[in-house]
């Protein structure tokens, strides 16, 4: 049957073009791959190749014609044994539609939310461990180490890799004793090559293992951010659910002390931005332990943001055979009625200290530790603000597009009528981290700033 040669789309955005030149004439024989015409798009002149073999029966659009719409028939190709007489019928058949039928009635997922009086959410307030459970003091460092060891004992596909994790036992001694117990097959020293070993970790997860990739600090993890986002976070979606990435990226995050601009950065907001990742930033030792165990078991890639200053801090940790904390459940550290202070990670030290000092002045602050930033427990925050009508957020990261900004926006959407004052975000200052001791202090947020913010929103 005679086939029509159609004006081709030659770029992702082309809708029409100029048929600049014919390189064949009627009666010429062509075979697949022969260049038959030159077509100008908005960007370039492209060569147009024949797909099928045959004889050019008729040229329908003359060279030099501008504004030829994509999919317009431009010539008719005859197969062996056909004559130009066959052309009429071929040319009469309608040109195929360039785009498939779109379903105009399909419900739009992007429909804006209608403004309506929000219902008070009912957050999960169950305790993290059963009442009466024995607890004992443990540092965050010991808690993370215990979580790793317990999960490695439970699942032989769990392994840890990173710089200095094995023989040196961790630059911050998180992996102490693991090489002795699990051997070099499962506790693996890598060369200094974050981009490469993060990618190998992702590939190993594709291949059925449960890698824990340690970055000596998250500042070095930035070398590997492409693998974390493009390879780990997106593959489940890009594969239509066929391939996932069950693994943990972990290490100390944020400012330590006097280590300067390149070693002092909080990645909470960076990674919380990414669909496909789960993001955890624990404050206490029990949370570090319970959340890391959940992270290692999670079938998705988890970014686990620790803090060097918190490593040595002690907290009560329950003595239980298998203690985990679910993602997406905030912890209320202190109940209060006058203001809600929302924080996570090391920000909690300022939040708790501020609440204690404010209590001395008769201001009752409710302090919420988000614990996980993705998923984020919006309900606990909103229910609290509906009670206190005021909110201050606290984090060490930079102010622009911060977690605090996101909480503020959510409160505007879901609890606007309950707010008696604008939400204030206490954050790190909008500067690279300075080295000088006094400047470094000024660059971070502080208990004094949190107290001042609370006084502002409570007008006291």
């Amino acid at each position: 049957m005679a086939t029509e040669i159609l004006m081709p789309a030659l770029s992702p955005t082309m809708e029409e073009g100029t048929l600049a030149k014919w390189l064949v004439k009627e009666g010429d024989e062509v075979s697949s791959g022969d260049i038959i015409a030159e077509i100008e798009t908005d960007k370039a002149t492209m060569e147009f190749e024949a797909v099928d073999e045959g004889t050019i029966g008729k040229i329908l659009i003359a060279e030099g014609t501008e504004g030829v719409k994509v999919n317009t028939p431009i010539a008719v190709l005859l197969e062996d044994g056909e004559s130009a007489d066959d052309i009429e019928s071929a040319a009469a058949s309608p040109a195929p539609q360039a785009t498939s039928d779109t379903d105009a009635d399909a419900p739009s997922q992007a429909a804006p939310a209608k403004a309506k009086a929000p219902d008070a959410p009912q957050p999960d307030r169950s305790p993290d461990w059963p009442e009466g459970t024995e607890t004992r003091k443990q540092t965050v460092r010991e808690a993370i180490n215990a979580a790793l060891a317990e999960e490695m004992r439970a699942d032989p596909t769990v392994f840890i890799m990173g710089e200095e994790v094995a023989e040196y036992e961790g630059a911050y001694k998180i992996t102490q004793g693991l090489l002795d117990e699990f051997g070099s097959k499962r506790v693996i020293d890598t060369p200094i090559t974050e981009h490469g070993f993060a990618g190998i970790g992702v590939g190993a997860a594709f291949g059925g293992l449960r890698p824990v990739v340690e970055f000596m600090t998250w500042n070095f993890g930035m070398q590997a951010i492409d693998q974390i986002i493009n390879s780990a976070a997106k593959t489940l979606y890009m594969s239509g659910g066929q391939m996932g990435c069950p693994m943990v990226f972990r290490g100390p995050n944020g400012a330590a002390a006097r280590v300067g601009a390149q070693h002092s950065q909080d990645y909470a907001a960076w990674y919380a931005h990414i669909p496909g990742l789960k993001v955890v930033q624990p404050y206490s030792a029990s949370d570090a332990k319970g959340l890391l165990k959940s992270a290692i078991r999670d079938p998705n890639p988890v970014v686990f943001l620790e803090n060097e200053i918190l490593y040595g801090k002690s907290f009560e940790v329950p003595v239980m055979d298998d203690f985990t904390i679910p993602f997406g459940k905030a912890r209320i550290w202190r109940e209060g009625t006058d203001v809600t202070i929302v924080s996570f990670g090391i920000g909690m030290t300022y939040a708790i200290e501020a609440a204690e000092k404010l209590a001395e002045d008769g201001i009752s602050a409710e302090v919420i530790d988000l614990r996980t930033l993705r998923p984020l427990d919006y309900d606990t925050v909103i229910a609290s603000v509906m009670k206190t009508n005021r909110c201050v957020t606290v984090e060490e990261g930079w102010p622009v597009a911060s977690i605090g900004n996101h909480i503020s926006a959510t409160l505007m959407e879901r609890a606007f009528d309950y707010l008696d004052a604008p939400v204030i975000n206490c954050t790190g200052k909008d500067v690279p981290m300075p080295y000088a001791a006094n400047l470094e202090k000024l660059a971070l947020t502080s208990t004094a700033e949190v107290i001042e913010a609370v006084r502002t929103v409570t007008y006291r």
């Binding site: 498939s100 981009h195 489940l236 066929q242």
Partner: protein, 336 residues
């Protein structure tokens, strides 16, 4: 048509030759059809065709055993067809339809098949190289003797993470074959203008990784080199590099006017070096097949490709609810 001397290859059977002919022809006709559907606006975005490079994947797939893994970059249609993925599912992914391998959510550059151990389709140049080494790491950890074919181009060979991976793959003796598909152009930049060494595989020597250059327009040469590489990896000796010198006939992607090389250069490759014509000559001159036999294969392939094209047009667009699925897993799918 082929000006190349065809050597007698005692180690190939008529059936094998016919299979290679068929597999390469399927890729070429599929890609031509994909180009046509792109021209009609049915395929959008970036679409990188494999035409010219068919012997690379067909030759190497001839060396693979069940359970071996493969991973590549964005010029991935040929790899999927060669490892046995369904042309209908691949074409329907190109048109962004529900019947596609990723249910329309991946597109030309992002397809996967758990069943065929095909681990993508990756769009960031060089990023699939550590991923491939990671797959090999998993196999070594699990104590099986599988190998991973990790394909990348001459362009990717200049990315830093490739050499980070070479180092670790050699250090840990990972069973990974690094397949450099050297088609001589990193998009529009010729190898001469971008790469300090004429033979890229020689860079492996710095890491103690053996390798060799292979004529990528000769499917038998590719297969023979592949067998050597596979034997090396499977026996626990660590990685191997195959630099396969090949050529792409079409532009980098559909919207590439290809002004960085002459029409004569492309035409010369097509006329003198074409991998499919080469096997066709071997079949006819060796009296392994008649013109009619080959015509029958052509017809069969045409039918498969037309069926894939029809399927890809008829398959519906994904349900709008698909926008919100597959962001998080309840169970890791590869462990399910």
């Amino acid at each position: 048509m082929s000006a190349r001397k065809t050597q007698a290859k005692p180690n190939v059977s008529a059936d094998e030759l016919k299979q290679y002919y068929r597999d390469m022809l399927l890729i070429r006709r599929f890609e031509e059809k994909a180009g046509q559907l792109y021209g009609m606006g049915l395929i959008g975005g970036f679409c990188h065709l494999y035409i010219g490079q068919e012997a690379v994947v067909v030759g190497l797939e001839a060396t693979a055993e069940e359970g071996d893994k493969r991973i590549t970059t964005y010029r991935d249609h040929g790899h999927m067809l060669a490892c046995g993925m369904d042309p209908k599912g691949v074409m329907a992914e190109l048109t962004g339809r529900e019947g596609g391998y990723s249910r329309g959510k991946g597109g030309s550059m992002h397809m996967f098949s758990k069943e065929k151990h095909f681990y993508g389709g990756h769009g960031i140049v060089g990023a699939n190289v550590p991923l491939g080494a990671g797959l090999a790491f998993a196999d070594k950890y699990l104590g099986n003797d599988r190998v991973t074919y990790t394909y990348f181009g001459d362009g990717a060979a200049n990315q830093g993470q490739v050499y980070e991976t070479f180092n670790m793959a050699a250090l840990w003796q990972l069973p990974v074959i690094f397949v450099i598909e050297n088609n001589q152009y990193a998009m529009g930049t010729s190898q001469k203008r971008s790469t300090s060494t004429p033979d890229i595989y020689t860079r492996g020597a710095a890491f103690g990784i053996p390798g060799e250059a292979v004529d990528g327009m000769d499917v038998l040469a590719v297969r023979d080199a592949g067998q050597k590489a596979v034997a090396h990896c499977r026996s626990g000796k660590g990685p191997y590099i195959l630099e396969i010198k090949t050529y792409r006939y079409r532009g980098h992607s559909m919207s590439d006017p290809a002004k960085y090389r002459t029409r004569e250069e492309v035409q010369k490759m097509r006329e003198e070096k074409d991998a499919i014509e080469h096997v066709r000559d071997l079949l006819l001159s060796g009296k392994h097949a008649t013109e009619d036999d080959l015509k029958a294969i052509d017809k069969e392939i045409k039918a498969i490709v037309n069926e894939a094209a029809e399927f890809s047009k008829d398959s519906p667009e994904p349900d709008p609810a698909e926008l919100w699925t597959d962001i998080y897993a309840d169970v890791a799918p590869q462990n399910a």
